[in-house]
């Protein structure tokens, strides 16, 4: 993994001390809230319903064990003993006190973490594939390019006051696990016809109140031009993006209003001026960053498929867990283990300090001291020996971290909603809890099969509802919580936005509606079809009829 060099270290430490002085001036009355707000946002501090919230970057979702241990320490020392992993692969603490923020940030700096650019109208944490470096289908490790983008975009003077926030996602695999088409810029690695790797560049994806799937503006970009091309896109956006209306300020609106062809032309014109500038990436620089992501010292092992099969035959719970949570690794004898943060006992994405500490120990013991966060608010141990899967599973079970539901009905993306968020119209977590309760029979869960339910508490769509196979959006209808449904959304390489079913349902009927939708799917599915397949074949009509009857 990447390690800070002297510049990173100094930059982060200086920033902590600068923010310490700024909070001091705010607390002693030298600054009012209007003056302080942009400063605190630049340092990841929001004010939520009940308290301040601190958002901590986890660059491209990758962490070392000592980093999650430090998050546990922060949860215990400055917060209420737990934290929340978000769809942006970051961590949020919900009860941080302003007077403690600088101390918490100083503790973070000790383990090479920070909150810089975790909010505000700048380039945010670049997100990526949680299977980076270990996926069988991977062309190249996307973390290398994420790190290059991180270094380029951190405190980039030209892009510190963009029209609106800016999110970049990178995948090195054709199977998109990072939802790149739903980002301001998505980078998807492909081989060209000569077999050379390069990036398909997608622009203008996003959710919020006007969702768009990103458009491809370049089929194949050689990696050496990555930064100059990104810079060209950002320049066009910085100049032409709207600043008069917050809701029309994202690049998706610019791309939509300008048209993909014209937008591409504008970018290319800008790019021509800078493509051979200092932004051109020499191979030596790519290699230098690549070295940070060198594979760990794998043992040379045989595939242990037969032993695993015997264990699975012997224990139905282990079998269910392997089926849902364990993925293939590119190295024989190793597996990727997904850890669900969607147990029935805790809000989705939440983790207690005790779980974090214990999990750090497991990462040390079973996965070379590293872990990842994915955009579905789960964790990953990327390098587990197959023959140690069973003992790891036992230990995860003891921590309530072995729910066998990855990619299943109860593995929902859920935003904090009105239980925490000041922008919310409705609660999300209680709906998720109710779904988890209703779908607790694992046979039924596995019969329903692959499914994503995504829940947001308002139009901002932090819970990715537009791209859930089933999307649930909380709205306020005359002072009551209502939930609208969309069906058929997807965030993978076949990204699509869901279709609205019709009027929303009150809180006490929302989960009945989920049942109706799933019962309809089970009734009409063909052999081997998952929910999304059935929806794409049969369309909205049968679901609409089941939900609202025949008009």
């Amino acid at each position: 993994m990447y390690r800070y060099d002297e510049f990173d270290t100094r930059l982060v430490q200086e920033r902590v001390e600068q923010f310490r002085r700024q909070t001091g001036r705010r607390l002693n009355g030298e600054m009012n809230e209007d003056q302080f707000l942009p400063l605190r946002l630049m340092n990841g501090v929001y004010l939520q319903l009940h308290a301040y919230m601190l958002r901590i970057n986890v660059p491209y979702g990758a962490m070392r064990s000592r980093q999650i241990r430090q998050l546990a320490h922060i949860a215990r020392t400055y917060d209420k003993g737990y934290g929340h992993f978000t769809t942006r692969q970051n961590m949020q603490f919900n009860w941080i006190q302003l007077k403690d923020v600088a101390n918490a940030q100083a503790d973070l700096a000790e383990v090479e973490m920070h909150c810089i650019q975790s909010s505000g109208n700048c380039i945010r944490n670049t997100t990526s594939d949680q299977y980076a470096g270990v996926a069988k289908d991977e062309i190249e490790d996307p973390r290398v390019y994420c790190e290059i983008i991180r270094q380029w975009s951190t405190l980039h003077p030209e892009f510190s006051y963009l029209p609106r926030k800016f999110k970049i996602a990178v995948t090195g695999s054709p199977n998109d696990r990072a939802a790149v088409a739903l980002h301001d810029i998505g980078l998807r690695m492909h081989l060209n016809k000569n077999g050379e790797p390069g990036f398909e560049v997608l622009v203008g994806g996003g959710q919020g109140r006007t969702p768009f799937v990103a458009k491809t503006i370049r089929d194949w970009l050689p990696p050496e031009h990555l930064l100059s091309y990104l810079e060209a896109i950002l320049r066009v956006y910085n100049l032409d993006g709207r600043r008069d209306n917050k809701w029309k300020a994202r690049i998706k609106i610019l791309v939509h209003q300008t048209g993909t062809k014209e937008f591409r032309r504008l970018v290319d014109t800008e790019w021509d001026k800078i493509r051979d500038s200092a932004l051109k990436l020499p191979q030596a620089e790519i290699d230098r960053i690549n070295a940070y992501f060198a594979p760990p010292d794998y043992e040379s092992l045989d595939d242990a498929g037969e032993t695993i099969a015997a264990w699975r035959a012997d224990n139905a719970n282990f079998d269910a867990w392997v089926r849902a949570n364990v993925a293939e690794h590119k190295i024989p004898g190793y597996s990727i283990v997904n850890i669900s943060l969607k147990s029935a006992n805790q809000p989705p994405g939440d983790m207690t300090a005790a779980q974090m500490d214990a999990f750090a120990d497991l990462a040390d013991e079973y996965s070379f001291g590293e872990l990842r966060v994915n955009h579905r608010q789960n964790l990953v141990l990327a390098d587990v020996e197959q023959l140690r899967l069973r003992e790891l599973w036992e230990k995860l079970r003891a921590l309530d971290l072995a729910t066998p539901n990855i990619g299943r009905v109860s593995d929902m993306i859920v935003c904090p909603g009105l239980d925490y968020c000041s922008l919310a119209n409705a609660r999300s977590i209680p709906i998720a809890e109710e779904i988890n309760k209703r779908f607790s029979d694992m046979d039924r869960v596995h019969d329903i099969g692959e499914l994503t339910i995504n829940i947001s508490g308002c139009m901002n769509a932090c819970g990715h509802h537009h791209v859930g196979h089933i999307g649930i959006l909380g709205v306020d209808k005359r002072g009551k919580e209502f939930y609208q449904f969309t069906l058929g959304g997807s965030s993978d390489q076949t990204a699509s936005l869901g279709d609205r079913t019709g009027p929303g349902f009150p809180a006490d009927k929302a989960v009945d509606a989920v049942e109706t939708i799933l019962n309809t799917y089970i009734e009409i599915r063909n052999d081997g079809e998952c929910f999304l397949d059935t929806y794409r074949r049969a369309g909205l009509a049968p679901f609409k009829e089941a939900l609202y009857g025949n008009p």
Partner: protein, 88 residues
């Protein structure tokens, strides 16, 4: 009632009858008239300028089992904390 967040810790507070701030809604002052509400809001805005609280707002309440409670569900959650148990 006036609801706000304290500046230093960010936690939710209510204006009291003696122009102080309390975390317990039961100790907060309830304005019975528009004039009383306006006066409370002025006091709260001054406290905001004095860097004691942020974002003070006047919210409607009703008395439930002898305690004032916000009538709007957003403010109800804000006053009473998350409606789901916090992990421990």
């Amino acid at each position: 009632m006036i609801i706000a967040n304290t500046l230093a810790d960010g936690f939710v507070v209510f204006l009291t009858a003696d122009n102080g701030w309390t975390h317990d809604i039961a100790d907060g002052a309830v304005a019975e008239t528009d004039a009383a509400a306006d006066a409370m809001l002025l006091t709260a805005k001054q406290a905001e300028r004095d860097c004691v609280v942020i974002d003070p707002n006047l919210i409607p309440v009703e008395i439930v089992d002898g305690r004032p409670q916000p009538t709007e569900y957003r403010e109800y959650i804000r006053a009473n904390g998350p409606s789901v148990p916090t992990p421990s």
